[in-house]
């Protein structure tokens, strides 16, 4: 950026070049048409069932009769009534699982991305091997880990332990967490890697020339510029983990208080054929996730404001 050829006005505005009001309207129209396919698909496939589910949650379950409107009765049942033990157990288990797996996935995924970003021979193969856990269908992976965590399985054999992993609460927790981290750290690695690769190498060179240490380069260059990718990765991983279903369902079936918000919703909706109560649980999960997303966004933006103020005009 030290050398600039003479070019016409080059103010880096957020949002691009200035527009006339007619240009604005044309842009808005174009944007509208570009967004239509997205709108239609999401409306039919997601919005309609969600609205229906919320409506159902206000009715009572009456399998062999007619359901009636009961307002928030199902919600009260889930939060403080007969369903509350199950609900809150699932709530805390899911939350703890989310925090633990996200932490490990971030650290491991980020490290993997950093390493994959370096130029060395065989990099392609390393990248491919990193994607293996993620590419294996969840059903197969769940079976694999279920057998690995069997009392006579590989995990106990390798670490010389005799833990009955899926037989009690905390071992089950760590078994599920490990299986999940193994399977999805690559996802984070991939997104962070894409973000890392946008960072021009010249920035690092310049910093090295100025005597910045590796740690300083990491904190001042890498972290701020990769923040966007990390936030997207964190956000979407969090959405997924809060709704985790396959792994706990296959590995423990919710035994030993390892139910998650999605397993209890599934059991009520599909197994017990209680669509209304099941929808209630899903809606509660939905609100919980929305609140969490807002929190993460708020925390992330606060950071972004601080760091861009410190950076000055680039």
């Amino acid at each position: 950026m030290a050398t600039e050829t003479v070019r016409p006005v080059r103010v880096r505005r957020r949002g691009g070049p200035a527009r006339t009001s007619e240009g604005r309207r044309a842009e808005a129209r174009l944007a509208f048409w570009l967004l239509i396919p997205t709108g239609v698909i999401l409306a039919v496939i997601i919005a309609y069932p969600v609205v229906r589910a919320i409506w159902l949650s206000l009715l009572s379950d009456n399998r062999f009769g007619t359901p009636e409107f009961v307002g928030f009765k199902n919600y009260i049942r889930a939060l403080t009534g007969t369903g509350s033990d199950t609900f809150w157990q699932a709530f805390w288990f899911t939350t703890l699982l989310t925090i633990v797996t996200m932490t490990f996935e971030l650290v491991i995924g980020f490290s993997m991305a950093l390493i994959m970003n370096r130029a060395f021979r065989g990099r392609g193969l390393v990248r491919a091997s990193v994607l293996v856990p993620w590419a294996i269908p969840t059903a197969v992976a769940a079976q694999l880990w279920l057998w690995n965590f069997n009392p006579t399985g590989v995990i106990n054999a390798v670490f010389h332990t005799k833990i009955i992993w899926t037989g009690s609460h905390w071992p089950s927790f760590w078994a599920i967490a490990l299986a999940d981290v193994w399977k999805t750290a690559p996802f984070i690695a991939l997104l962070v890697l894409a973000g890392l690769q946008i960072i021009p190498g010249e920035l690092y060179e310049a910093a090295k020339v100025d005597g910045a240490t590796a740690m300083q380069r990491f904190r001042r260059i890498t972290l701020p510029l990769v923040k966007g990718a990390v936030i997207v990765a964190v956000l979407f991983r969090m959405l997924d983990v809060l709704r985790i279903f396959d792994l706990p369902f296959i590995m423990t079936n919710g035994a030993n208080q390892t139910e998650t918000l999605s397993t209890i919703a599934y059991k009520e909706s599909i197994q017990n054929v209680h669509p209304s109560y099941g929808s209630t649980l899903s809606t509660l999960t939905f609100f919980y996730i929305v609140v969490t997303v807002f929190l993460v966004n708020w925390v992330a933006k606060a950071d972004v404001v601080k760091s861009s103020a410190g950076r000055g005009v680039s």
Partner: protein, 295 residues
């Protein structure tokens, strides 16, 4: 970022010897890191391969197959399982989903990132909100919808639903990529005499390549791995993808678990994916060097 332009001698006054030592040490750490990554990612996969080559993996817990056999792989394609149809279905569903989701996603992200209009935050928020609802509750109403349209056991329900699940993430990733791209590029290209179409193709597209291919991989794998919707909406090998087919593998009796066959199917399903990803990876790097921030 304090960039000093003082013409001082290089701040690194290290002597050659320790510089080499530093280089070696860095390489050493790098190698260790790589080794750890590879072991972490591949060890369970190794176990999967080994199990698929054993005749009786449930009983035989050895670290390598003493009498490796292709029995499980034969079983996967046998008359009972007919896995080749499931593979065909998965490829069609995941491939179509990826193409369509990218198409629709690029349109939407371009609008969100590069065009100005009111209510952007609302749109982004609404898109994100659709990604939040637990899948379970969508199953019954969607089944009813597709059943009434006589589309059960066909490709469309899976494709359309997979697109709707992967759109939010695609839009977010692509939007963040499109908005990071400097505005000057388009203008510079125009100044250099390119038409908008050429500017789009020769400047924007190569730069967007990493984002687009990353999104493509994510969408493809998500569609490939999808289970619940496929399981609910399909009934025969006419449309069942691999995830459902594997769930229906069986041994001789109701209770027997064909662990070896499942592992063999898992291996078969993963390797093509990995190869495909390897190919995409090259394009990411190519895209970077082609467009390039040329300063």
């Amino acid at each position: 970022m304090a960039v000093t332009t003082a013409p001082a001698p290089p701040a690194v006054r290290a002597r050659p010897a320790s510089r080499v030592a530093g280089f070696v040490r860095e390489r050493g750490w790098l190698l260790l890191g790589v080794a750890l990554i590879v072991v972490f990612c591949l060890a369970p996969f190794y176990w999967m391969i080994v199990s698929s080559l054993k005749a009786n993996p449930l009983l035989d817990q050895g670290l390598y197959p003493k009498n490796p056999t292709l029995l499980n792989f034969r079983e996967v394609f046998s008359g009972e399982n007919k896995f080749q149809y499931a593979l065909r279905n998965s490829v069609i569903v995941a491939g179509t989903t990826t193409l369509l989701a990218l198409f629709i996603g690029v349109f939407a992200s371009y609008a969100l990132a590069r065009l100005q209009f009111r209510g952007k935050k609302l749109v982004l928020g609404a898109v994100l909100a659709t990604a939040v609802f637990p899948l379970i509750t969508l199953l019954t109403p969607l089944f009813q919808l597709f059943s009434d349209l006589h589309l059960i056991d066909t490709y469309p329900p899976m494709i359309v639903t997979d697109i709707s699940f992967t759109l939010p993430l695609s839009i977010y990733v692509l939007t963040s990529f499109f908005s990071e791209m400097p505005w000057e590029l388009e203008m510079a290209a125009k100044v250099d005499g390119a038409t908008p179409g050429q500017a789009f193709r020769k400047v924007i597209v190569p730069l967007a390549a990493p984002g687009v291919f990353t999104t493509a991989i994510i969408v493809f794998i998500a569609a490939w791995n999808e289970f619940l919707i496929a399981y609910t909406m399909t009934q025969t090998l006419k449309s069942q993808p691999v995830t459902v087919a594997i769930a229906k593998f069986t041994g001789v009796s109701r209770f027997e678990q064909p662990f070896g066959t499942i592992m063999a199917a898992g291996v078969l399903v993963t390797i093509p994916l990995v190869i495909m990803v390897l190919l995409f990876q090259r394009r990411i790097v190519a895209g970077l060097t082609a467009g390039g921030v040329k300063g």
